[in-house]
């Protein structure tokens, strides 16, 4: 069989606007939710970009320098990722690609309806578009797997224990890294504990945090102000020499928060604040 990519490319190229337009119309009729969610402008952009890439790609698809096809694949993969971020289901994304057939086949039918070569043309387009459709699925699965792994990792990281150490005093010992999602969980757990036990003081112990930079400091300040808004005082303990040096050198101002070097000092202060004594 002789290579028919060049011929197909020129047919598609001649009918480029017609294809884009009819593809878009298919989507509006068949994938309403998708169009609704990503907007008509975006749909228009997608149909145009992919049509153009396809027209280029079919020319060289059988050669070793099929750079244009690689580019098309990359484009489709990117699209799939973007769609999954926007809550488009994988089926809808795949359909989005498949509907280009409904735009191309009638055009081939019109021009080559009587010619037996049309069968080859259709098979040719079919195999490319099917591959692209499957690719969207594969990318979707990969991104899901990535997400699951990330969540598992995050789950290991984010468990935040809260201990009620004394009447009116809760302790949150932090171990590991403190990023923004973990800070969020830490704050939720801390506030729940304060609310449930009506504790007046929360001690956040950061002895187990290896690196305290300005970002971590900002998270701690946020947590402290959250406790304050609820009506509890927040102490931060475990500020070692190294940490205090770093913070001052970075210009981080923690002066609004009571800080102590050791947890023991913090606990003592907390007892004083709640007017309690160790007997």
């Amino acid at each position: 069989m002789t290579f028919i990519g060049n011929e197909i490319s020129s047919i598609l190229s001649k009918n480029r606007n017609k294809i884009c337009d009819s593809w878009k119309k298919q989507l509006i009729i068949q994938s309403r939710t998708l169009v609704e969610l990503i907007g008509l402008n975006q749909v228009e952009k997608i149909t145009q970009e992919i049509s153009d890439s396809l027209i280029k790609a079919v020319k060289t698809i059988n050669t070793h320098e099929h750079e244009d096809y690689k580019k098309l694949e990359k484009q489709v993969a990117e699209l799939s990722r973007e769609m999954s971020l926007r809550n488009i289901t994988p089926t809808e994304t795949a359909q989005l690609i498949f509907f280009i057939k409904d735009a191309i086949f009638p055009i081939l039918q019109e021009d080559y309806g009587q010619n037996s070569i049309i069968a080859d043309y259709i098979l040719f387009i079919n195999s490319i578009v099917d591959k692209l459709g499957l690719l969207t699925f594969q990318i979707y699965l990969e991104s899901r797997e990535e997400l699951i792994k990330e969540q598992q990792r995050a789950f290991m990281d984010v468990s935040v224990p809260v201990v009620k150490v004394w009447k009116d005093i809760v302790l949150i010992p932090l171990v590991g890294m403190l990023d923004s999602s973990r800070t969020q969980l830490m704050m939720e757990t801390m506030l729940s504990a304060i609310e449930d036990t009506q504790s007046k003081v929360a001690i956040i112990d950061i002895s187990g945090i290896p690196i305290v930079d300005s970002l971590v400091a900002r998270h701690l300040i946020t947590a402290a102000s959250a406790a304050k808004l609820m009506g509890a005082e927040c102490l931060i303990t475990g500020i070692r020499a190294k940490i205090s040096q770093t913070l001052v050198q970075l210009g981080v101002d923690l002066s609004g928060i009571v800080t102590k070097t050791t947890l023991a000092d913090g606990l003592q202060l907390a007892l004083q604040m709640t007017e309690q004594k160790l007997i």
């Binding site: 939710t33 609704e36 008509l40 809550n87």
Partner: protein, 145 residues
């Protein structure tokens, strides 16, 4: 913008939409209650509810303060693979001259705290804004389970 929204009223789409008018401070409360009810029904957590309803409060107040009146449309999606809703705040007010500036924390044209837009954006995972000077403003937020 082209209208393709009709599909959701035709009964063929899987989404259900409700529109309420926002023209008074009492309507802000109604808007809040509507979103609260929906989120409660869809079993969003209390924290999610508080977060989003606060944003709804800011955005519907913005309509009143800047445009006098407008509307909020809630579109609910309840199908396998996609549960959640979108909330669209539309007005035909003066529009925003410089969206980037308006989105900045602390920027205000009305001596408020300037947290309405910037704050809502921080509260909502999906936030988009379109505005044309003299034509109006359209802000959309979306929450998915």
């Amino acid at each position: 913008m082209e209208k393709y929204q009709d599909s959701r009223d035709s009964g063929q789409g899987q989404s259900v939409s409700t529109t309420i008018f926002v023209a008074s401070y009492e309507d802000v409360i109604v808007a809040r209650q509507k979103v609260r009810e929906l989120m409660n029904e869809m079993k969003f957590s209390l924290l999610d509810q508080t977060r989003v309803v606060t944003a709804v409060s800011e955005l519907s107040r913005n309509i009143i303060v800047h445009a006098g009146k407008g509307e909020m449309t809630i579109i609910k999606y309840d199908e396998s693979g996609r549960r959640g809703f979108r909330c669209i705040f539309e007005d035909k007010g003066p529009g925003i001259a410089d969206i980037d500036l308006a989105m900045r924390e602390g920027y205000s044209t009305t001596n408020s705290l300037g947290l309405g837009l910037s704050g809502s954006k921080k509260l909502c995972k999906n936030f988009s804004i379109q505005s044309t000077r003299g034509k109006g403003t359209r802000i959309e937020i979306a929450e998915w389970k």
